[in-house]
Symmetry: C2
């Protein structure tokens, strides 16, 4: 394929938009209901750490679709993880 740089970026931004959009309802539902019982702490920690590393990787290779998508998803995932940790510590009391 013979794509120009801005066409390549458009593909990356479409990918970023779709995967971030697909993640939003989870975040909104967790905030609204504060019901994190269905969310696995272990799996969510792995996911959040992974997204954080994708963000670092994106910053190093200087690819903006990767940086923007993972910065947003990392912020959302971290806030859900914080809710989950508060939820878990409450139930331990």
């Amino acid at each position: 394929m013979n794509l120009e740089p801005h066409q390549i970026e458009v593909i990356g931004y479409c990918a970023a938009f779709l995967t971030t959009l697909a993640f939003l309802p989870q975040a909104i539902q967790s905030w609204k209901t504060r019901d994190l019982s269905g969310v696995s702490l272990g799996m969510y920690s792995l996911f959040t750490a992974g997204v954080g590393l994708w963000l670092i990787y994106g910053l190093i290779i200087e690819k903006w679709p990767l940086i923007l998508a993972n910065a947003l998803t990392f912020a959302l995932a971290l806030s859900i993880l914080a809710l989950k940790l508060r939820h878990t510590s409450k139930h331990r009391k």
Copy 2:
């Protein structure tokens, strides 16, 4: 930061490993239980399309961590989507 190319790749592979690993339990549970009632068809279609575009983006910019992570996640997401579509069409009969 002054990182060598292979160190940058290691960060990308760690990111790929973590986010793919975090996605596996969803796939395994969906296969085992065949219960896709909690999975939103619309959101899952967006996610699968997004991962497919990340794969294309990774192939174009030739970054192997992106290619491997998204090829595996795309295959898993597509198989869950296929189960969901079969599940949905069964319930319509």
